[in-house]
Amino acid sequence: MGRKIVVAKPGLDGHDRQAKVIARVLKDNGYDVVYTGIRQTPSQIAQTVLQESADVVVLNNLSGAHLELFPETAKRIRELGLNPFIIGTGVIPPEDQEELLKKGLDVVFGPGTPPQTIVEAIKQWEQTNP
């Protein structure tokens, strides 16, 4: 049974080439990927994760609002009693990555990350969460 992944774009950032590339690479690696489209609120994303029974959530933001949006989205998801593997991606400076990890994200990737690195992170998580 393939894992289900929600790729979501919280906030007002309207650029989604990166999210689409990630979604496509995940699909090409055998995952079922639900893409939400742009301009999502944290509660919209949380309800999507719940309805789709997603195992993994990939958040993507390029506008610099990740410190507000990512932790809030992770909080809303976990408030629903869900415990997916939550990955933060986008234009995230190294100094912010540590903080996001403290605030509910499981792993964070900044600019220049090869898509395959995200796939590897998911595969690693799958091994400990059969």
Binding site: M1, L26, K27, G30, Y35, L50, E52
Partner: protein
Amino acid sequence: MGTNQSLIRALRNGSQADIARAITLIEKNDENMSEFLKLLYEEDTTPVPLIGLTGFGGAGKSSLVGVLAESLLKLGKRIGIMAVDPTSPKSGGALLGDRIRLQHLFPNENLFFRSFANKGSLGGLSPLLMESVKILEVAGFDYIFLETVGIGQSEVDITHFADVVVLVLSPGLGDEIQFLKGGIMEIADILVMNKMDMPSANVSLAALEAYARLLDEPPKVVPVSAIERRNIDVLLFEINDCYGRKQESHELEQIRKQRNRALYHSWMMQMLEPILDQCYSEGEVPYIAAKTFVDSIGRCLNEY
């Protein structure tokens, strides 16, 4: 036993978390599945209109489901939507993009949307999809929409399964309409010409109407524009009207019987598939191998 019963109780209350959990239980072929399904079918449910939408990719099925749901939500209805997208034959993965068209309706306690990958199932509708309809029925939805993957064999299967079949077309599909003539066009209850906001849409509409008139049982033709929210109330009226007529003529009872039979078939195919592979080894004459297998089942059935 206890967990299954409490899951059914939660479903009756329409809890979204539990609807998702129940669908996942079937998806993952959980060890509790058969007991859960037994309990699910013991539930007394009022039939819920199941509306099937089919049509070429890009015709606007998702957008149309979105605006139909939007209108019904305003009337205080509870809507369940199941959308199917194709599985990649190369990787086995899928990109499920149907949600994008109606994410603006969320968060919403009265709207449940679930995306499905078709897993290349040739029999068209997978047992998972069909059991999900049952789950949504028990959860007390007012309407259930099923959006198919596109046009193909499975689109004809939908007619054995949905109460009302809506074929979504868009302007400029001249050749495609030719292609459809022998198939789904004949069995759709309602033909929708979407994107009526586009130039020359009227020409395509006229061609469709001319074609529809020639059919034995001419279906309703409804021109709409999903993005301009044009004529959506007319389409809803036609859907309700069609459902009502089928209810009066007892056609719905027939459809529901066919649905259970189709479900039995698709479970059977799913269960047989791994065994079938085991019973053929390289070098055997394919016909003889298949016949030997089927004959041996026949002998078992006689003893059974």
